[in-house]
């Protein structure tokens, strides 16, 4: 039987050609001629197998007319070898070029690890939903145990036995507080403008806290994740130093201290924006705005704002540190940790905001 390449225009090289010849009862000789290269559409090994028939036991090659070959030829042969192996056909590689034989031998030198091959391919939607659900419930105890570790760590802090460097705390405070002022100002001002126009209360949540979930939560996750990749966290563990004390505690404290302050500041900037809209568009006098604002504001507003800010700060730090500590050992997983920290942070803020609204309402505040 004979296969050959359909003529390719504008190409002078000889194209590939494959002939098969039966010798005796059980031997098939494959003659490969011409170019067997990557730029060509070569036959698949399966086609030849169909030709081989039932009583074939041996396969040999004739490559006297082969003019050029590359990886494409090797891949073809390797697939053929595997097929023959499966069908109990023995192969005489004597007719192949020396280089081809050597490369094939090297590829076969390390047997394939059966267990190492991952299950791949597309799974159906139901399967994926199921897996995601299982993953979620597997993740829940981990989230809780991390919360427990942080609680223990705070316990050690109160008893003065937590091991971390105060300089790290100051560094984090500066990082999450003053350095966030510009962007918090811009966002709060714009949100303040919108609020003054619409009087929409729900928008308040979109302010500083969400922004901090993005800016700081992602940074925490990326920092701790990178440390995980570098085995820095392992190094703490083997020395018996709690990575939660050393790394999580200062970040947690910094956010719990700074977010309430940022929240107050954001509120102030928002009021300034409101003032701008009121005086320029709604014709409300500056003095009038001031007295009305004072009348509307009560101390409890500040206290509620401060306590909410503290909780939101804790949520963002928790999400960022959790995802960072859970990070895998590759650059890709650092990115995933950062993304996941933002999502988890916003989710936790939303949940805790709803809970606190209910609690404060019940308390009559």
């Amino acid at each position: 039987m004979n296969w050959s390449c359909p003529m390719v225009q504008n190409r002078n090289e000889k194209q590939w050609q494959l002939d098969t010849r039966r010798i005796g009862d059980d031997l098939l000789e494959l003659s490969c001629a011409g170019r067997w290269c990557l730029d060509q559409d070569l036959p698949t090994a399966v086609v030849i197998l169909a030709e081989m028939g039932d009583n074939l036991r041996r396969l040999s090659f004739n490559t006297a007319q082969l003019s050029a070959w590359d990886t494409r030829f090797l891949a073809f042969l390797r697939a053929l070898l595997t097929l023959c192996d499966e069908h109990g056909v023995s192969i005489d590689q004597g007719g192949l070029p020396t280089g081809v034989r050597h490369l094939l031998a090297m590829a076969a030198a390390v047997p394939e690890q059966k267990v190492a091959r991952r299950r791949s391919g597309k799974q159906n939607l139901l399967f994926r939903v199921g897996m995601a659900t299982i993953e979620f419930f597997r993740g829940a105890p981990e989230m809780l145990s991390f919360l427990g570790e942080i609680t223990l760590s705070f316990g050690r802090l109160i008893r003065g036995r937590a091991r971390f460097r105060w300089s790290d705390l100051w560094w984090e405070i500066e990082e999450v507080g003053p350095r966030a002022l510009v962007i918090v100002s811009v966002i709060s001002f714009l949100v303040g403008l919108i609020l003054a126009y619409l009087g929409a209360d729900q928008l308040r949540l979109v302010g500083a806290q969400i922004f901090i979930a993005g800016r700081t939560g992602a940074a925490f996750a990326a920092q701790l994740g990178t440390m995980q990749v570098n085995e820095e966290i392992d190094a703490f563990k083997t020395l018996g130093i709690s990575p939660v004390d050393f790394l999580v505690l200062p970040r947690m404290l910094a956010l719990m201290l700074m977010v309430p302050l940022l929240t107050l500041y954001a509120g102030f900037v928002g009021m300034l924006a409101g003032l701008l809209v009121s005086t320029t568009i709604f014709d409300i006098g500056m003095f009038e705005y001031y007295t009305e604002t004072l009348r509307a504001l009560q101390l409890k507003h500040f206290l509620v704002g401060l306590s909410k800010g503290s909780v939101y700060g804790a949520m963002v730090a928790y999400a960022g540190c959790l995802r960072g500590m859970q990070c895998g050992r590759s650059a890709e997983s650092v990115g995933e940790a950062a993304t996941s920290a933002v999502v988890t942070g916003i989710l936790l803020i939303t949940i805790s905001a709803s809970l606190m609204t209910i609690i404060f309402y019940r308390l009559g505040i």
Partner: protein
């Protein structure tokens, strides 16, 4: 002679979920050994190390340090056992927010009551020992890969551990520093009686300084030899000989 082995690994199986990395490992590390964990790429050397030093709980079996069951003692006792280990990680694992001096000093601060001046003296000695004298105030990011490795060794040695576990200490180093590192390891063993567990596939190191070893096989996921690597070259299993002679025997 001490009847209780320094480290004994018994029926140890390390796995990630259902994926078994190495199973049924049984070997003994004696005091003063330079014990080589060897095997091809991906055979589970580092995973075995994680089981030895408390970073990953074995799927089965355990490790004894001086007769104490490392994985089944109280956490306080396990912490004490850990304190007698010094670990050098593959990439150094230096804490990136601390300088080299602070990196080496942290274990000392944690477990000793040294004055700052003594601390500084010890730190610069340890750094000098690994050829990094004068790099005290450098941050890890400012160092080359080989320098990070050596600084990692200095930190692992900070508390003069009974047992030093090093993951690929000389890979990626030029021959000369690699040789120096081997000399240093020998010296630590001889002068401080440190037991060394070293993960490596550098033949020069294995045959040059190794006094005992375990060979992990990638295909069968278990060990196929333990004992002096020099003897393994002469009379060991075919796979081990193949590995130790780069396939020439």
């Amino acid at each position: 002679m001490n009847a209780v082995p320094h480290i004994e690994v018994r029926d140890l199986t390390m796995a990630y979920g259902d994926f078994v990395i190495q199973r049924d490992l049984n070997f003994v590390v004696n005091k003063g050994d330079i014990f080589v964990i060897m095997g091809g790429n991906g055979c589970g050397k580092t995973t075995l190390m994680r089981g030895l030093i408390g970073l990953q709980r074995p799927a089965k079996g355990t490790v004894f340090y001086g007769g104490e069951d490392f994985w089944n003692v109280e956490p306080e006792q396990q912490a004490l056992l850990k304190r007698r280990l010094g670990i050098m990680f593959q990439g150094g694992a230096l804490w990136s927010s601390l300088t080299l001096a602070e990196n080496v000093a942290l274990p000392l601060k944690e477990y000793t009551a040294l004055s700052p001046r003594h601390l500084a003296e010890i730190v610069s000695f340890k750094l000098a020992l690994v050829g990094l004298a004068g790099f005290e105030d450098f941050y890890p990011a400012e160092l080359s890969g080989g320098m990070k490795k050596r600084a990692g060794l200095a930190r692992a040695m900070a508390l003069d551990p009974e047992t030093l576990v090093t993951d690929e200490p000389s890979s990626g180093l030029d021959p000369l520093p690699a040789r120096r590192l081997d000399d240093l390891i020998l010296e630590l063993r001889d002068s401080l009686e440190t037991t060394i567990v070293v993960i490596t596939h550098e033949l020069a190191s294995i045959l040059g300084i190794g006094t005992n070893s375990v060979f992990l096989d990638t295909e069968t996921h278990t060990m196929i030899n333990t004992g002096n690597p020099k003897e393994a070259v002469a009379s060991g299993d075919a796979k081990v000989r193949h590995f130790l002679t780069r396939g020439t025997a």
